[in-house]
């Protein structure tokens, strides 16, 4: 028996009049919650025109954004992950690979190739978060290593755009070893005096941060990107404390001396071009 009872029926929600709207015409910004015309965001390089929130973009979109038009030549597109451990959680790794490959139309979580930035030849590797969270297994590690070796061969600067949850658990120890493999290749690049620029985008964590992504001669990030070693949830569970405001975001990392500069997407190409020209003799 409750103390109070309703005399009137509660106000019911207005019967939903569904306005027919074409899918994806409007997008809600994850940061400021503004509803924005999708085309406007796209025109603005997938950056919210209201609050400057940088939406995640695909590897292909990133390549178009940074490299000179039609200059990109992809390499090692035919490398494929295999399920050598018969790994199974809720799904088999075999099936996860198949589904991701079908969705992405081939490839793996990173796209690598040669191209130019304002006519300066570079080798780029760009992660695609939509492929298994951009996780690094044998194929990703191999592609990154080959890209670094390509830079060595051509004497061209190497740029890696990271966007990854870390190592790919389904490949267990082999995915861990990709960290050592890629860093060993970077040791050679450094000894040869070839620049390496690491651009960390939202999110970059785990085994990718703890290997090549933190080893740039220049470490750049986009604004407000989540970058860390351990994920925020793991840290919270370990120390049982609330994390400080802005923890593991680009601005926080800049303040703590872990990155060189935060660059907005609109200026990325120009800043890369400017930086690389200082390091390369022309």
């Amino acid at each position: 028996m409750s103390w109070f009872s309703r005399k009137k029926a509660p106000i019911s929600a207005v019967e939903k009049k569904t306005v027919q709207m074409p899918e994806g015409l409007w997008t809600k910004c994850k940061n400021c919650n503004e509803i924005i015309y999708a085309k406007e965001i796209e025109r603005n390089l997938n950056v919210c025109p209201k609050c400057d929130y940088h939406f995640r973009i695909s590897a292909r979109a990133r390549i178009d954004l940074v490299l000179d038009k039609d200059s990109f030549v992809e390499m090692d597109a035919d490398l494929q992950s295999i399920d050598f451990l018969d790994f199974k959680d809720s799904k088999k790794y075999k099936d996860r690979i198949k589904a991701s490959v079908a969705k992405a139309g081939g490839g793996d979580a990173v796209i690598c190739g040669e191209g130019t930035i304002d006519d300066l030849p570079v080798v780029v590797s760009v992660f695609d978060f939509s492929f298994m969270g951009g996780s690094m297994g044998s194929v990703v590690g191999e592609k990154i290593t080959r890209a670094i070796e390509k830079g060595l061969e051509l004497g061209a600067p190497v740029i890696i755009f990271s966007c990854s949850g870390g190592a790919r658990m389904q490949e267990s120890i082999l995915s861990l070893m990709q960290m050592a493999k890629t860093c060993a290749a970077l040791a050679k690049l450094k000894a040869a005096g070839i620049p390496f620029v690491s651009v960390l985008t939202d999110p970059t964590t785990g085994g990718v941060t703890a290997s090549f992504a933190m080893l740039g001669d220049i470490n750049m990030t986009e604004p407000r990107a989540l970058i860390g070693f351990a994920g925020p949830r793991v840290i919270e569970q370990t120390i049982r404390q609330k994390l400080p405001e802005g923890f593991q975001r680009s601005e926080y990392l800049l303040e703590h001396g872990m990155i060189d500069v935060i660059v907005r997407r609109q200026e990325m190409k120009q800043r890369l071009s400017q930086m690389l020209r200082i390091f390369t003799k022309s």
């Binding site: 050598f84 451990l85 959680d89 658990m169 861990l176 933190m214 070693f229």
Partner: protein
């Protein structure tokens, strides 16, 4: 300290009985025949238990509270131990011990994770989870070893690098990454032994060696079974399943063919049952591999290590058409 795992319990009870009988034996009362019977029984039971260990049980053995830690190996394998402290930037990290010693009379550097046995020691050693300053100290010592042309022995036994606010602020990821790059280029022999838990990047940051050895009941994986279960099964208690899926035991990893060079046998019942014998086994393997590596020039050492890690790839490469 008396500590044992669930599956060790019947064995421990039997051993207790044997021990009691021995206590009661006097010149007049002879239990030797009963004792002999029980001892045979215990040996059989031990073989029985240890031949059927699951991957999860092996993980528990790798974390056994009585398992020999780095300082135990230092005591039993090396002489003239001289510990050095601090990363010269921020602090000393007791979770990662570093220093110089002699191996068979030859000077060398020794680096390893250190866990604690009692609660106080566990806290001091941060459960064997290093902070960035630990990795930076290790790198400082490795560079010093290179400067003086000394071989480096590392011992790996950590749940992982410490995930804390301070660790992130001081660049845990950068410290690990830098070690990976710098270790790849060291011009002296580096021999790595995974003695207990090889926990992810926190282990790898001192494990880029010309040789990587694993003790029989050690494990090595990209993530702890509990961490893996929390992510993939959304349930940290599914560790046993995750351990099976991760194939993290020395035998599993040896089967992959490209990661480790040798599995070091342990005394019956695990290294904690006979630390002296376990250390002797380790010493024999270290000796063999050091002798092989000392045949190589500094450049050959760097190249051999590079090629070893370069080859760690399992994938399919489709023939390019046209």
């Amino acid at each position: 300290m008396q500590a044992y795992l669930d599956f060790e319990k019947p064995l421990v009870e039997l051993e207790q009985k044997i021990h009691e009988l021995r206590e009661y034996s006097t010149e007049n009362v002879d239990f030797s025949s009963e004792m002999k019977k029980l001892e045979t029984k215990a040996e059989k039971l031990r073989e029985d238990i240890f031949s059927k260990l699951t991957r999860w049980q092996r993980t528990q053995l790798a974390r056994h509270p009585n398992r020999p830690f780095t300082l135990d190996f230092i005591e039993n394998v090396f002489t003239d131990w001289f510990e050095l402290h601090g990363d010269r930037n921020f602090a000393d990290d007791p979770a990662l011990v570093c220093g110089f010693a002699r191996f068979e009379g030859q000077p060398c550097a020794v680096i390893g994770h250190q866990k604690g046995r009692d609660t106080k020691q566990k806290v001091i050693r941060n459960f064997g989870m290093p902070n960035p300053e630990g990795y930076r100290k290790a790198l400082r010592i490795m560079k010093m070893a290179e400067q003086f042309g000394l071989p480096i022995f590392t011992f790996v036994d950590t749940p992982g690098a410490y995930p804390g606010i301070g660790a992130e602020e001081r660049g845990q990821a950068e410290a690990i990454a830098r070690n990976l790059r710098e270790m790849a280029a060291l011009k002296v022999p580096v021999i790595v032994t995974i003695t207990g838990e090889g926990g992810s990047g926190g282990a790898l940051a001192v494990a880029v060696g010309n040789r990587v050895l694993m003790m029989e009941y050690s494990v090595y994986a990209v993530i702890s079974p509990e961490g893996c279960a929390a992510i993939l099964w959304s349930d940290g208690a599914k560790g046993p399943q995750a351990a099976e899926a991760l194939k993290l035991t020395a035998a599993d990893i040896n089967e992959l063919g490209c990661i480790i060079d040798d599995v070091i046998e342990e005394p019956s019942g695990g290294a904690h049952n006979d630390v002296k014998l376990a250390s002797e086994n380790v010493k024999a393997y270290l000796k063999k591999h050091l002798e092989e590596l000392q045949q190589l020039s500094p450049e050959e050492l760097v190249e051999q290590r590079y090629q070893k890690f370069r080859a760690m790839t399992v994938m399919a490469e489709e023939a390019v058409e046209g």
